[in-house]
């Protein structure tokens, strides 16, 4: 089975390093594409800007999306993904610091598949990433690829 990529949308370098470490600790070998803000994430997914010419038929298995991002914030990224036929069904896991009710409501409202809070305790974070990987990369059957 082809190991599909994970798109990690994360602006904080520490969080990026820690997430990558947690993935590694859990032996998740999938390719990880990191976008450092919302705009970059959209460019990657739609093959524009920096990623012009990228084969957009190749879409990630899951997107780990932070909410507080420079330029285009996480909720806006989610809204645009859901508005586009190519990424309408793409599994998106919101991975963020906040448990603010308004974020959770908006996130699910816009069609997030999961909402996971990053715990302060890194041991717990590793465990969370392990379960996410198990679920979204192994257990969950991805939606069929749509040709645009």
């Amino acid at each position: 089975m082809e190991n599909k990529a994970i798109l990690l949308v994360e602006d904080n370098a520490d969080d990026e390093a820690l997430t990558l470490r947690a993935l590694k600790k859990n032996n998740i070998k999938n390719e990880v594409v990191v976008a450092h803000d919302g705009a970059e994430a959209l460019e990657y997914l739609f093959g524009t800007g920096k990623f012009a010419g990228r084969n957009t038929d190749f879409i990630p298995q899951v997107v780990l999306l932070d909410l507080k991002l420079p330029k285009v914030d996480g909720l806006e990224v989610l809204r645009r993904l859901r508005a586009d036929q190519r990424t309408k069904l793409l599994p998106v896991v919101i991975l963020t610091s906040s448990t603010e009710e308004q974020d959770r409501i908006k996130g699910y409202d816009l069609g997030a598949n999961s909402y996971v809070r990053k715990p302060v305790d890194f041991s717990q974070f590793i465990d969370a990433v392990r379960q996410l990987g198990l679920y979204w990369l192994i257990l969950n059957e991805a939606p069929p690829v749509r040709r645009s």
């Binding site: 520490d14 610091s97 448990t99 990053k118 715990p119 302060v120 041991s123």
Partner: protein, 465 residues
């Protein structure tokens, strides 16, 4: 005016009628005397059959200008002597006398006719007949009617004059005043004024007083409006400030929620990375330092979470409903029992208690109070935690009581302050925000919360809703 005119008219008519009746009686009486006199003076001419003497006697009637004609008749009705005022004798048939009467009179064709039997020594000797016109009476009537008409006219004119003066002096200003009053009460316009008559009379004084009253009302209205406007503006300003403060608070807590925890994750994550990746280069002391860093970080994370919770409770919308608070207490206790599975805690929950409050927020209250009770009984061999309802000072209070570590009553008021702790963190863990959150929820329900306790003799928390 109509009424007074009619009354006056009726009075005049009555007076004239009365006078005419009296005058007629007097006329009849006079004529009767004249007839009597003429009759007595004609006795001897009749007896001696001397018509000339009778006519001489009758001619004395010239002195009475109203007598048109007179005549003396013999007993058998034959004319004996006549008198005509205008000297133009006509034949007159003697009218029939009613039987058993010596005198009769009647009004006919504008004339008064009087007939009298002449009696001499108890025996009728002839008849005297006198006809008188009513000129005097009609002249008198005309005079009276004229006087009455003049009196009526004069009084009507006087009444009209009086009414118009009254109208101008009293009625007009009062009607004007009434109109102004109507406008004022309809339009709530206190700026208009009644026009003074300028005559310094009673209506003018009334209008002056009315205008002064309007002026005072206007002044007060103005002051009231100004105060109202100021208040409104102040409320608006405060609302805007409050809204801004609330927004700021929300933005702040949102930012805290996102940004303050991220560095903590870095500290904890990289501390763990050090412990994992560089374990062989660290001695035990170094590892312990890192463990302490991680513990402190996690504690900081808890503090942030609790603070956010407290702030959320302040902002949360309260949705009150009636619900069974005993059931809520049971479900809280259930999860606490799982958390304290290793300790036997005796829970006594009073059943069937109702509350009118926000069930979600009351859940937070009970989690904190019952959780505290479990925490502070951790050093008891037989821990007991109670929840129930009691009456205190006329109101109903719910309570959570335990037989745990208790507290020094001297510090009771500090229990509910944020970050206030009466026990060391090593003795009983905690952030010191739980009771502040509980207090805020109770206050937002309009209730009160207080605590009673003694060191090592347990604590009791009471709250009303």
């Amino acid at each position: 005016m109509l009424v007074s005119g009619a009354a006056l008219l009726i009075a005049c008519v009555a007076f004239v009628a009365y006078d005419l009746i009296t005058f007629r009686e007097a006329m009849v009486h006079n004529l009767s005397i004249q007839a009597q006199m003429a009759g007595s003076n004609s006795v001897s001419p009749l007896l001696f059959n001397d018509p000339q003497a009778a006519e001489n006697t009758l001619s004395a009637l010239k002195a009475a200008p109203n007598v048109v004609s007179a005549g003396i008749y013999t007993l058998d009705g034959r004319p004996f002597g006549t008198y005509w005022r205008d000297g133009n004798p006509q034949t007159v048939t003697l009218p029939q006398m009613p039987p058993n009467q010596t005198e009769a009179h009647w009004f006919k064709d504008g004339r008064l006719v009087l007939v009298r039997t002449i009696v001499f020594q108890g025996k009728p000797t002839g008849t005297v007949y006198i006809r008188s016109d009513l000129r005097e009476m009609s002249a008198r009537l005309k005079r009276y009617v004229g006087i009455a008409a003049m009196v009526l006219l004069a009084s009507l004119v006087a009444a009209l004059l009086g009414a118009s003066i009254f109208q101008r002096v009293v009625a007009e200003p009062i009607v004007h005043l009434a109109e102004i009053t109507r406008i004022v009460s309809r339009d709530k316009n206190y700026a208009i004024r009644a026009t003074p008559t300028g005559k310094r009379d009673e209506p003018d004084i009334l209008i002056g007083a009315f205008n002064e009253m309007l002026r005072q009302i206007q002044q007060r209205e103005g002051a009231l409006q100004q105060a109202h406007d100021e208040l409104e503006q102040r409320v608006e300003e405060r609302t805007a400030q409050l809204g801004a403060a609330n927004k700021e608070l929300e933005a702040f807590s949102y930012s805290v929620s996102h940004d303050l925890r991220a560095p903590l994750r870095g500290i904890d994550g990289f501390s763990l990375a050090l412990l994992e990746d560089y374990a062989e280069r660290l001695d035990d002391q170094g590892k312990e330092h890192l463990q302490r860093i991680r513990a402190a970080t996690q504690r900081m994370g808890m503090l942030i979470d609790d603070l956010l919770n407290l702030s959320r409770m302040t902002r949360a919308e309260i949705r009150k409903e009636r619900f069974n608070i005993s059931t809520l207490a049971h479900s809280v206790v259930e999860s606490l029992q799982e958390a304290h599975a290793k300790r036997p805690i005796e829970f006594r929950i009073e059943d069937g208690l109702e509350a009118n409050a926000d069930p979600r927020l009351l859940g937070v209250v009970l989690e904190n109070l019952l959780g505290n009770a479990c925490k502070f009984t951790s050093k008891r061999a037989s821990a007991r935690v109670e929840f129930g309802k009691m009456h205190r000072n006329g109101s109903t209070a719910y309570f959570v009581r335990d037989n745990g570590a208790g507290f020094d009553p001297a510090y009771a008021d500090r229990l509910f302050g944020a970050f206030q702790r009466l026990h060391g963190a090593t003795e009983f863990p905690g952030t010191g925000i739980g009771l502040a959150t509980v207090q805020r929820i109770i206050h937002r329900h309009g209730g009160q919360i207080w605590a009673e306790g003694e060191v090592e003799k347990g604590a009791a928390f009471y709250f009303t809703l």
